[in-house]
């Protein structure tokens, strides 16, 4: 049989792009969110440009005069063994110093950022990173830090300190960063 069936094609690409002229430089896509209006019902920061980075730990600490290079306060990273969330004895002094600092400055707030290495599944790693942050939180609270002074966030494997696929990189990425909030 010789019947030829005609199919009219809907051109998805044309439809998708109809409202969006290709006016941007291909090599430098603009940061999404920069043109997003701040929503009146939204919380602070909701419409914030994604290219604006909060102060990093060092800058924030320096800004608060919390020491940036010397003393125990400068050591703000607690490292963990693979698949573990127990705080090793060698990091007890960091916990002790942070606790003293927080208990003597009740207005001071700290964010504990939990991280993992890049092995395993990403979402489960979020759980492991949170578990590490919680271990540090509990340790601080045991030494008298008020619950309201501490927040936690887990980045899982998404914010490594070091790039790489070996134990050298992994050991530096399994960590909790103690970030004093400005």
């Amino acid at each position: 049989m010789n019947k030829v069936i005609s199919i009219a094609l809907l051109i998805a690409a044309a439809a998708l792009l109809s409202g969006c002229p290709k006016k941007h430089n291909v090599n430098e896509p603009p940061v999404a969110g920069t043109q997003v209006p701040e929503s009146s019902s939204g919380g602070a920061g909701e419409g914030a440009s994604t290219s604006t980075r909060p102060l990093d730990a060092d800058a924030a600490n320096a800004a608060r005069g919390l020491g940036e290079g010397t003393g125990l306060l400068a050591r703000k990273v607690i490292y963990f063994d693979f698949d573990k969330s127990e705080i090793k004895p060698e990091f007890a002094d960091i916990i002790a110093t942070a606790s003293r600092n927080l208990t003597s400055n009740p207005n001071l707030k700290v964010k504990l950022e939990g991280n993992t290495d890049n092995r395993g599944t990403r979402e489960y790693n979020i759980g492991l990173g949170e578990r590490r942050a919680q271990a540090v939180r509990r340790a601080l609270m045991l030494q008298g830090v008020a619950e309201t002074q501490i927040t936690t966030v887990s980045f899982g494997a998404e914010r490594p300190a070091v790039e790489g696929d070996d134990e050298n990189a992994w050991s530096k990425n399994r960590r909790v960063e103690v970030v004093y909030l400005p």
Binding site: L9, P29, Y124, G127, E130
Partner: protein, 432 residues
Amino acid sequence: MNRHFSCLALIACVGLGSFARASFVVEVTRGQTEAIPIAIVPFSTPAEAAATFDVAQLVSDDLARSGRFKTMDRQDMIDQPHTAANIAFDDWRRLNNDYMVVGSVQPQGADHFTITYELYNVLTRQRLLGYQITANRPGLRSASHQVADMVFEKILGIRGAFSTRIAYISVLGHLPLRTFQLIVADADGENPRVVMQSNEPLMSPAWSPDGQTLAYVSFEDRLPTVYVQTLKTGERHRVSAHAGVNQAPAWSPDGKKLALTLSTRDGNLDVYVMDLATQLLSRITDDPGIDTEPQWSKDGQSLYFTSDRAGGPQIYKTGIKPGDKPRRLTFQGSYNARPRVSPDESQLAFVTQEDGAYRIATMDLRGRGDVQVLTKGHFDVSPSYAPNGAVILYATRDKGRGVLALVSADGRVQQLLVSSEGELQEPAWAPF
């Protein structure tokens, strides 16, 4: 009031207008001996149209990438017929072709083309398909995918997925300043479009069942937030920004609910279901361990999820009604996580640990629960089924770089999709 559902409008033109450059080069890492030999003969094409697009090449590439077909090299073709009358079937049979496709591309006016093609069984000389497709110039690519879909389905009896799309995360640059892009591309990696970009991590893209909307996690405020973004308009809603963890969104089959992972103040992760219309949350799991990575059953009555309540991560299934108790599904090995349900729910794909390596495995859901490890890499994660269930797209690492790869659902064919830039992560295959 509704602060979690406030609308962020119009990222559309920013996002959809920007094009990423990555397209994939396919390296077949494990082939299939029983691949079906087929010849896609170059279509007769007026010079003008030829400069525009090589339809036969794309059809050939699609079929080869499926792993189910062995396509004939053009330089091995003795002849280039375009109609049945000119096919010397005995010659093509001697060259070991089971099937062949011939056709033409004819201009229709200034900017339109008619693709005519026919699929023949070389052994029986029977015509299996004969179609004409009209397309404008930018539509030639999708029309060609459609030809590949029809050939694939006619020969294998499985719906082709060459016309579908994928989403994935691409990370550009190096520490300390990296750019995260959420990209939507054709299933072959072409036409990549940046739909969201941030200097903070983006995670876990998940397609709505109608393929119109993506849910994802963004750390743009340095806290995890679940957003839902309509692709065509760029309209974006913040659906979950609770204190603590907001992760792993998964659409219910009816598109009305989102399963996701939230945490209590003391960091206990559990799976919840959110009604998207009312924002109401129901807690599904309640265990001190990590419960996360939820996925819906086809009937929308149950969730598969990862939990380490028994020590290491294992996969469980629970009904979503109050009182439903989770049932453990995986027992082999100490690490089984991130379940994905095949489109017909005959199979579960997940990440398993084997000899210290992370690999993609499947579990038979209809029989005895047999487990098969499909891949041989060290960092194979984030499996995602093609909507026809034939192949699984996943993320792996190649020479220190994040890349995407494909493995057939039976494990026999495996391919690396090497992109020209970026660390590629978390692929999610769109529905039909």
